[in-house]
Symmetry: C2
Subunit: 555 residues, 2 copies
Amino acid sequence: MQYQDVVELAKRRGIFWPSFEIYNGLSGFYDYGPVGALIKDNIINTWKYIFVELEQMALIDSPNINPEEVLDASGHTKVFTDYITYCERCGEAYRADELIKKKMPDYEFTTYDDMVKKIEELGIKCEKCGGNLSRPEKFNLMLSTKIGPGKGKTSYLRPETAQGIFINFLPYLRYFREKLPFGVVQVGKGFRNEISPRQSLLRLREFNMAEAEVFFDPEYLEWKGFFQDMMDQRVRLLTNRGEDVELRLGDALKKGIIKQQPIAYFIGLTFRFLKNIGIDTERIRFRQHHPEELAHYSKDCWDCEVETSNGWIEVTGIADRNQYDLKQHIEHSGADLYILKKLETPKNIKVKRFKGNEEKLKSIFGNEWERAKKYLESLEVTNNQIIFQGKRIPEDAYSIIEYDEKEEYTKEIPWVIEPSFGIDRILLSLLEHSLYTRENTGYKVLRLKPHISPYKVAVFPLMPKDGLDKEARDIERILRTENFNVYYDESGSIGKRYARADEIGIPYCVTIDYQTLKDGTVTLRERDTTQQERLGKDELPEKLRRLILKCLTSI
Amino acid sequence: MQYQDVVELAKRRGIFWPSFEIYNGLSGFYDYGPVGALIKDNIINTWKYIFVELEQMALIDSPNINPEEVLDASGHTKVFTDYITYCERCGEAYRADELIKKKMPDYEFTTYDDMVKKIEELGIKCEKCGGNLSRPEKFNLMLSTKIGPGKGKTSYLRPETAQGIFINFLPYLRYFREKLPFGVVQVGKGFRNEISPRQSLLRLREFNMAEAEVFFDPEYLEWKGFFQDMMDQRVRLLTNRGEDVELRLGDALKKGIIKQQPIAYFIGLTFRFLKNIGIDTERIRFRQHHPEELAHYSKDCWDCEVETSNGWIEVTGIADRNQYDLKQHIEHSGADLYILKKLETPKNIKVKRFKGNEEKLKSIFGNEWERAKKYLESLEVTNNQIIFQGKRIPEDAYSIIEYDEKEEYTKEIPWVIEPSFGIDRILLSLLEHSLYTRENTGYKVLRLKPHISPYKVAVFPLMPKDGLDKEARDIERILRTENFNVYYDESGSIGKRYARADEIGIPYCVTIDYQTLKDGTVTLRERDTTQQERLGKDELPEKLRRLILKCLTSI
């Protein structure tokens, strides 16, 4: 099935559609309708089942709005940019690299000058009016706002949920009783002021993400997760050396293709999650970043890509974030985002420490002087320049003191590996992989697994008369009370009703007929096989519960 | 228990804490930690169980960011304001009405002049430095941002989730097969740039809300919901005539105290929801708005208030929104947000209609001329001024045409009743109502119901040795696979472990002892009674599942 079939179905049956349509829309924003919001919830709940219940990571929820200090530290205010170019005649804006890619699909950004040269060489003009394009400039993708009265405090809508986890490393460390490794996860919105949003859920300005930040002792980079057989999982890998191979994760790690054990584990976990919700495993691959794509601090990074009619699209990133983020937040906030490691034998050592001069620090840092002092006094004594919040601490702002100490602990910045999931893209791919046409009827069917399906069961009276409707309503009511989301339908032929239910992926249909009134039995029809069985209505709740639970827990 | 006990527990055990603490915080923002995020999820899931599964409302998800057209139409850009006053010496900002209320608790805003007079009469000065205060000015509480490249499009973070529902009335009407009444619900973030956020979760700038917009044919204002006995529900009502009475909802409606049946129903539903999650029913009341508190279009509005150590706090509003919002969006967008009602006998009528002049409309409305024309031609012919998007359509921009028509339908704007829930306040109240001190131990216990509890069961090996820990790990693993969120603990005495589990509300603790190794039985201890029973480990999953399901579905 193609993207266009999915978009048509999505609009017609209430899965998703462009937001604000009565006001001409606003590109990059989509609504999830009554069917789509339930599917999205179920995908997220399955993700939480795997990451929170099985892998025992801590679920948290931090604000969408972040003050600028957080994003200054993370580097987003400086480097979270794309190059933008405007038409000098009509003012239309374009992402420079995308214009080039349209004419030169292999293009990868290397230098600014090369980009400018490519635009010239390829003779790229405004797509709307043919006008000349301006020199590309950096465009920050964060959305900003001001918090509080008066001028307000500059803040941003978070571009990722990760920073809300890093800055609270200490409470999470306490929660896990000071033991590494541990994972902290968050599911929520992210925001990027994309220059050119496109293809509905594929590139949104407001999107749903699920991220895990997993903290390790740098000396023990290993995740002993729930799945003891994970290293036996076979996956398709596109390595940065150009190979396209299917390998056991354990072998890929042994051969040095995957650099770190947790990355191998989370590649496997991503594969099993996608398989569990219903993504076609033949259309999943993991693509390793090329060395030049990697952030300077990162040793290895893999994208999970899923094949759709729009090509291979990235749905998950599994990245080595190294000690970078915590290091940045230590430097910007002065907080002790370290782990303490007990030494086997305490050492007697001479300690040299900076001792900050209150008056001098006040004159440089104003209200922030206490943080500056704390930061300064936490440092090893060196001859390097000491920078706090972008300002140098001059030598006359501290003295150096010396004393004896028994060193029992050494402190270290934890190492972070991050699997990050784009929920909207996963949902879009899942719809494409799930939609098919039933051969004998020509009707469309959405092959959603029972735990992902928006409604768990449809209830139909054979006819809306002779007490069949009342009996059906009673059964519907019992199922609702038992915590099933039920779809009731009494209009049109049973065939039409099956077709309507199939199209939004309802896995089971229960029909109440004249025999039900006599012996209390109903028919239960399974969507994909269309096979029916007859069973007592009292058996329904337990039967359905077992079927759905089995589907969720088969990983 | 008091607010301070809850805040202390919340911070210590990972329920919630102020956000961005390593950067000095940002007032009005809170993080939910590993325990709190799970409790919040469970409250929301229970709400969805009631509103989506039982009441069959449609769950949807629309963007946090709304373009200004939406909030111009709803009136928020104009009237969503508080009065702010600044200290003329130190610049500190205050909410004017709150300053007055501190000295005059009964104060209610009537007029601007009265407010200014009160500040003078009461001699109110800056609380920080004693300086004089500026004349109060209106301060809009919405947070704004700019979307897209270049100057960007002015947009706002939504102050409520409701508008995202109203503007999509037509797809929802289609989803419900053109039949009223129906409800559409949304759970998500709301944002208000509060002048003075306070008391942790009580007044946040970014908060969690769950709203239902229920659409009615104005002639049939009745919600025949899941609970057929709802009118027999007794609740405590504080009427706007000053009575404080406990009444059957049916009687309150009959006496004209509650004005509309759906409001009575949703008051009952709110009561049952709060009771189900564990709010003390003795500390729930519903307060009717005084006529002067009501929006001009609203006939009736009730706040659900819960008593806490901070006094009675509003946790839910049940409001008659009348036809106001849809009417505004019709006028601003030109969209047909109507229902069509078939007439019993079609009428032959002479129709008079406006016919817009394309050229003239273009000259007035530019790109928007087609909407203006559509709007104009949808109107009844009158002599009133015709306004579209704030601009008058002059008489030379249209002609009036007459023709015969068979009228089969009449169109009408649906009527909306809205129950709106503040999830953070509900969570805060629930914690206060649930926390108690166990008499014989002096330890704190959080009396959370099993379906609300962050972890469903704790698993303890009696000792972490002799194979007890391995057996406990196996049982833990089985429970996780069966979709229970499990808390494993092997450190300290069993008593200490019970205490740790009690404090975060875990309802059941399973202990693995030497007998387990012999006969496969374990002890199951219930939190509040501390009673223990012995049962086979294989019976655990079904036993726990039934206990939790029973708790969720007892409404």
